[in-house]
């Protein structure tokens, strides 16, 4: 056999052990000078590479050992971002001390915590002054290293542990565990329900970030309605603005509770065709402070703007103002046709400095005013990773400024890039004041969709004072439960309250919302005499309803000019299909809701398991636009693994 170089490489690297083969190669080496030279060089590279790889990383990443208690702590360590060289060692020491401290506290400091009788219970994982040094070390570490670290309230927070030693969450009071859930409502006494037409995508992104880092969010941070509405469902848009909403209803047998059914209510707002949108005059006010120097911040802003440019008309205008170390107009208001100039402006966006945006916003409004398009979409778009009102000496001035400009036709939208949820609400409030939109962005898909939304016409109001009313027929539905909407929304709208209160003041175009109801069907036909329901035999109002319908959804709204419109009314006949035969959108939404109920450990979760969620979601990926649904499947897998360590026996 000829000794070629490939074979010789294998020999040098110890892959050829057969004595006969080795002998053959060694003989070839003795006889062939070129082979010897080659062999020497490969050996030298071998040595060099071994050393180089050894030196490449410096200190190895360190991870605590796998005792049972330490296995719990993995969840916390998974949340770490090991940013400094010394942190791995310190973290492992911290974990060890933390576990010791917890055990100590569990045994001695808070003996009564198990019975839950303490009116204001001490956090179980609180590091008391008796271990002050440990506390300092630990809180310092967690503050610096656990995500999310940028919340202003972060320093007030601490790690919490369950009484079995497992991780609970950030800075939560134990009594917060008693979070509420939307109740089951008797449809005879309370036949009317409803839901708002707004759902934030923010919790989905937060959940994704948390799971990627190996943590489960606290149950009360799971907003099922937001999770469900984080995904796109195929609701055909209404044909014209004459009837600005389309209602889509679907019912199937409940996959998690025997004898119950699930109802999906989808409301789709009219989508304004891209071509018929008005011209835009956009001013991006971009935070270029040092903290924006992360791949899902400033690069996303740039990429988002770049993608948007491709969609704008040549005569539409874009400007970029930065705030950071100093306010700078990196791109005066420029027509899209001047591509290279805009490119240069985008390229010059570099992070550095600290955020102070007062002069920036004034400059941005000045530019927007200078290029004002009468009847057009004039808008300042703030892109930041923090509360952009920070550093403003007089917040009231900012409020007044934004409101005044909104009245004069320049609106303001705000986007938080990969930021901590704790600081989102002031930004959202300012965006509301500026007649604009607030959203959280941590992927290009988000920025693409949301930036495009700023010019697509979605800012055009298609209706005002919109209310969705879901009217259950007590003769078919004994009781119902609105899934999600636990936080601050009253799920039921009893007859005593008259008109439903879940009102959206302004309804932008193109938006849709999905709500899921769990229904308990009536065993036998009841006497439909519930007051308030259009199904009531005694209620002789104008809202007639067919007694064979199980539910009627009505959308009340005003035209954009403020005049009252005829409500849109869509009934659903008592048609029930097995869950497996429901549409993929329906099954996917149910899987998402089931997942949310699992994470909340909802009392209504019924037979939902991670396995069920996974198999249902996998079989209902549908068109899977943007890969979001696949991401969901990955999230469920991650959550399952994390839960497994949190409650090793619970899911077995």
């Amino acid at each position: 056999m000829k000794t070629d170089e490939t074979r010789l490489t294998a020999y040098i690297l110890g892959e050829i052990r057969d004595p006969g083969n080795c002998q053959e190669i060694e003989e070839a080496l003795r006889n062939d000078k070129d082979l010897r030279t080659f062999s020497d060089e490969i050996r030298q590279l071998q040595n060099g590479l071994t050393v180089a790889y050894q030196k490449e990383l410096g200190d190895p990443l360190f991870f605590p050992a796998f005792t049972k208690a330490e296995a719990q702590s993995i969840l916390i360590f998974e949340g770490h971002s090991f940013k400094s060289e010394w942190m791995p060692l310190l973290s492992s020491i911290a974990a060890f001390l933390m576990l010791g401290a917890c055990l100590m506290i569990l045994n001695k400091v808070v003996p009564g915590v198990d019975n839950g009788a303490t009116s204001r219970p001490l956090p179980v994982g609180w590091i008391s002054s008796t271990v002050a040094e440990t506390s300092e070390l630990l809180t310092g570490n967690w503050e610096n290293d656990l995500d999310p670290p940028r919340s202003p309230k972060w320093k007030e927070r601490s790690l919490w542990w369950r009484d079995n030693g497992s991780y609970l969450g950030y800075g939560m009071e134990l009594n917060e565990l008693k979070y509420s859930e939307s109740p089951i409502v008797d449809s005879f006494s309370d036949p009317l329900s409803g839901f708002p037409l707004e759902a934030s995508l923010h919790p989905f992104s937060q959940l994704e970030v948390a799971l990627n880092r190996g943590r489960l969010p606290a149950p009360w941070d799971i907003h099922i309605e937001s999770l469900v509405n984080s995904f796109q469902y195929e609701y055909p848009s209404p044909a014209s603005l004459e009837e600005p909403f389309a209602v889509h209803l679907e019912q199937a047998i409940s996959p998690w509770m025997n004898g119950h059914t699930l109802l999906r209510v989808g409301v789709q707002g009219y989508e304004i065709p891209w071509d018929s949108r008005v011209d835009s005059n956009l001013v991006f006010l971009v935070d270029v402070s040092g903290s924006m120097d992360e791949k899902n911040k400033l690069p996303l802003v740039k990429a988002g703007i770049q993608k948007l440019l491709g969609k704008l008309r040549a005569h539409e205008r874009v400007a970029i103002v930065t705030y950071g170390g100093a306010t700078e107009v990196v791109l005066p208001s420029t027509m899209v046709v001047n591509g290279p100039r805009i490119e240069r402006g985008l390229k010059s966006l570099q992070p550095g400095g600290t955020s102070r945006m007062q002069t920036g916003i004034v400059e941005a409004y000045a530019i927007a005013k200078g290029a004002f398009i009468e009847g057009g979409n004039n808008r300042v778009i703030v892109c930041s990773d923090g509360d952009f009102s920070l550093g403003i000496p007089d917040p009231k001035y900012l409020n007044r400024l934004i409101a005044r400009q909104a009245n004069s036709g320049i609106s303001l939208s705000a986007y938080g890039f990969a930021m901590d949820r704790g600081v989102s609400s002031p930004m959202a409030a300012l965006a509301r004041m500026g007649n604009g939109q607030y959203a959280y962005i941590d992927s290009l898909a988000d920025s693409d969709q949301l930036f495009a939304g700023q010019v697509s016409g979605s800012i055009i109001t298609i209706a005002r004072d919109v209310t969705v009313e879901v009217d259950f027929n007590p003769s078919h539905v004994d009781a119902y439960r609105l899934i999600g909407y636990e936080a601050g929304i009253k799920a039921t709208l009893g007859r005593s309250e008259g008109m439903p209160l879940l009102r959206s003041k302004i309804q932008p175009a193109g938006q849709s919302v999905t709500a899921l109801f769990e229904l308990i069907p009536a065993d036998v036909a009841n006497d439909p005499t519930s007051e308030g329901s259009s199904f009531a035999a005694t209620n002789a109002d104008t809202r007639g309803a067919n007694v064979s319908d199980i539910v009627t959804v009505r959308v009340y709204y005003q035209h954009p000019n403020g005049s009252e419109a005829e409500p849109i009314e869509v009934p659903l006949a008592d048609k029930l299909v097995p869950f497996e035969e429901a549409s993929s959108d329906f099954r996917f939404a149910a899987a998402v809701a089931g997942f949310g109920q699992l994470l909340r450990n909802s009392q209504y979760k019924g037979d939902v398991t991670f396995d069920w969620v996974l198999s249902t979601a996998r079989n209902a990926l549908g068109h899977n636009e943007g890969g979001y649904r696949s991401t969901f499947v990955e999230m469920v897998e991650q959550a399952e693994a994390i839960t497994y360590f949190d409650h090793p026996a619970a899911d077995g």
Binding site: I42, Y53, F63, E70, A71, K307, T631
Partner: protein, 180 residues
Amino acid sequence: MLQSPSSEHLQWAKEVAECHHEALSRYAYGMCRNRERAEDAVQETYVRLLKQDRRKIESHVKPWLLRVCRSRILDIVRKEGRMSIIDSTILEQKSSDRPHPRQVAEQHDLSKTLLAYVDLLTPAQQEVLRLKFQGGLSYKEISEITGKSVNLVGVILHHGLKRLKTLVSESDPAPFSELQ
């Protein structure tokens, strides 16, 4: 359904993790050049280790760990792939992680220079070199991890080394004596 790991299994997993942690961490870091992502991948690998039936992997635990870690890293990369357009920015950042070999050479650090040249190889060559010289794995083990045949691993490794040799020689006429 997941079963609660026994204390014996946990102890075993702990020992495995301790034994291979450094190799795994270095491998993960080398693959994604990001400490945070590497840590995530390594930890997800341990999570899988705890769920895994010991009997099935005991005989080849190191390649198994590296294979799982590799697939986690690929998942992470794929996830980032969803940000398609922005990737040009990310890739720019990645490629600029390590300066050009000539710049590195000026620092007179041979190891860094060598790794800077490794960066110029194909991804497959880089990976196989790393598994061989960092992980100390055999062709067969590398084959199990990468899903490539043993012969192909040998060929990739050989061509990688040969190309590296050429790159180093072209830049410096007498480099090999210093690599000893």
